[in-house]
Amino acid sequence: MLTMTNVKKRFGEKEVVKGITLHVGKGEAFGLLGPNGAGKSTTISMICGLVPYDEGDIQVDGLSVGRSPYEIKKKIGVVPQDIALYPTLSAFDNLVFWGKMYGLKGREAKARAFEVLETVGLSERGKDRIETFSGGMKRRINIGAALLHRPELLIMDEPTVGIDPQSRHHILETVKRLNEQGMTIIYTSHYMEEVEFLCKRIAIMDHGQVIATGSTQELCKRLAGGNQLLLDVEEARPAFVEKLKQLDGIEKVIHPEPSEIHLYVKQGQDMMASIVSMAAKEAVKLRQIKLKEADLETLFLQMTGRSLRD
């Protein structure tokens, strides 16, 4: 459905996307992860045809975004991070307008607006003005506005920012259902659990590059260490950190906070005793030691050195 080949984008002197190559299959739910400034939004803008790319090519369903932008826009639905709706108009009027902008005729647009209201679970609030809606309801209509023309590819840019758990659950269920019905989804979020719930494959972006792609399981296997040991110390002296790095079985050491040390290890349980004894020898007060199973968050931190919400 989507193929990106060595796509580059430069804003002035700064290269913000440095040769991305990606493939998203038809009917797939694909997660795009990356901290702020990683180049996710620019990548999405290039797929949507909002921002032209400088090099490489992006193809949607075999058509090049650069050459057939309007044909491609008919196949894509975009859910922006902003709630891009008219607050003084009703949910129904908003949906009809966006339907018309996607080329639907009057009656068709109205019929689809009713269907979409049902899809997002807001049939009873169709006549109410958007400004009277809660944040979660607005987000649901924001998604609905991208579904009116039955897109083959739905691109969602952090669609659950700042909403209550109930609305988040509803949105995730709706997106999952759409994907099960055959719609291809590209989903970006700061919430790992959303991506893990929805997406079979993910790509991690950092500094304008895709640094890893694959299924969650595949990527977790790629972790330098299978597990993570989280040390909470009173003061992590450099000498102590250096000695930890030299211990057998420790793959990587990250020191994100003055009192925190993250160790990536193959067998966490086995390492605990040696770490405790080294702390005692170095006179470092160890307040807590915790073993964490590998997950996307761990993977992300290890690969980028930053938390996803940084």
Binding site: L50, V78, I83, A84, L85, Y86, M101
Partner: protein
């Protein structure tokens, strides 16, 4: 085309759904028209009383008085010097204009030929001075015309001047039959206020309407519009058309309402339609230019209102340009409102489309400049 209509109908729906829109679009201009039209109308008795003393008593001084009396905002009472002094001390008049003996001789020597007495700090003085200079210029033209005519006909120039005055008086006499009818006179004043305040409030409404561009930009609606299969040209046309139609509906209804409520005669319908269309293009362009030059709605309101009110003052929306100094009238040439007012005045006075081509072309020039700035600066990002 469907997408252009979709944007157009959406923006119209948004505008006409707001109850406050009706107040600004229709109630406010009608209230202002009524207040100012009535205030400047003769029946409201607001004409400034001024005593005039003719020490010269010549046909030239009488012609000057006739010129002065032609202005509706001042009511001259011809009295002798003693009565004038009394009236001034009683504050029954705002000032006394004394035409000195040997008026024409003084004028020829470029000496003061008219004396103006007024209480200190009166606001009437600059206006009276302005009106006097204007009347003197007209008289000067008539004298020059008489002198040229006399040289051709080998006659004494003052005889030719008398003939000229008589002919003019005769014409005045005929027009007086119509123009002295107070109703017709009031209509003209009401027409003036109607045109002025319709222009101003169409501009104000356009300022709020074009604010949708800033709103759409800040809310991410522009970016979302660009993810739809609509071209930038379609989007721009949709917005321009919606602004134009909103302005056209407002102006048309104001014309209808002022005709029905105040009996305003707007003149030749074809000329009126073309003038309104060119004015709206100019106003839409100005609104779009402001909306795309500023960054926030607050900036747009502040800059826009300042611009509209100041240019309306300069352009003769609140008061006729006849009463402002010469340099202000020159500045008014750079303000679209003054050209629109000139066009409407001509139409009300019976002009047809062909007679108002100058204001139409000037307004078209303004439209091209403003629309070019507005459209070229729409970035949709």
């Amino acid at each position: 085309m469907r997408k252009i209509i979709a944007i157009c109908s959406l923006e119209m729906k948004r505008t006409f759904k707001r109850r406050s829109s009706y107040f600004i679009m229709f109630a406010m201009p009608l209230i202002f028209t009524l207040l100012f039209g009535g205030l400047f109308g003769e029946n409201a008795g607001s004409a400034m009383p001024v005593a005039i003393v003719d020490e010269d008593g010549s046909i030239y001084s009488q012609q000057l008085i006739r010129q002065l009396k032609a202005h509706p905002f001042v009511e001259y009472e011809e009295v002798d010097a003693a009565t004038a002094k009394e009236l001034l001390s009683e504050k029954s008049v705002e000032g006394v204009v004394t035409i000195k003996k040997d008026f024409l001789g003084h004028v020829a020597k470029e000496e003061p030929a008219v004396m103006l007495q007024h209480p200190p700090g009166t606001a009437a003085a600059p206006m009276l001075e302005q009106l006097y200079n204007q009347a003197l210029r007209t008289l000067d033209l008539q004298v020059t015309a008489a002198q040229i005519g006399a040289s051709y006909e080998n006659k004494e120039w003052d005889l030719v001047f008398e003939q000229l005055i008589e002919t003019e008086s005769g014409t005045d006499g005929i027009s007086e039959i119509h123009m002295n009818d107070t109703q017709v006179e009031s209509w003209n004043k009401m027409s003036y206020s109607s045109a002025g305040f319709s222009i101003m409030f169409v501009m104000i409404v356009m300022l709020f309407t074009t604010g949708t561009l800033i709103e759409a930009r800040s809310m991410g609606i522009w970016s979302r519009l660009l993810t739809t299969p609509a071209t930038r040209i379609q989007l721009t046309l949709g917005y321009v058309l919606s602004f134009f139609i909103i302005g056209f509906v407002q102006f048309s209804l104001l014309i209808l309402l002022t005709s029905l409520l105040f009996g305003v005669q707007w003149g030749d319908p074809l000329g009126l339609a073309v003038l309104v269309i060119t004015l709206l293009l100019c106003v839409v362009g100005l609104g779009m230019a402001i909306a795309t030059l500023v960054k926030t709605s607050e900036q747009q309101s502040a800059v826009g209102m300042l611009l509209i009110i100041s240019t309306s003052m300069l352009g003769g929306v609140y008061w006729p340009l006849d009463i402002v100094p010469e340099f202000m009238r020159k500045i008014a040439n750079f303000v679209p409102q003054s050209w629109a007012i000139e066009g409407f005045k001509s139409l009300v006075d019976g002009a047809a489309l062909g007679d108002i081509m100058t204001p139409i072309l000037v307004l078209l020039g303004f439209s091209i400049v403003f629309l070019s700035i507005g459209i070229s600066r729409v970035r949709y990002q």
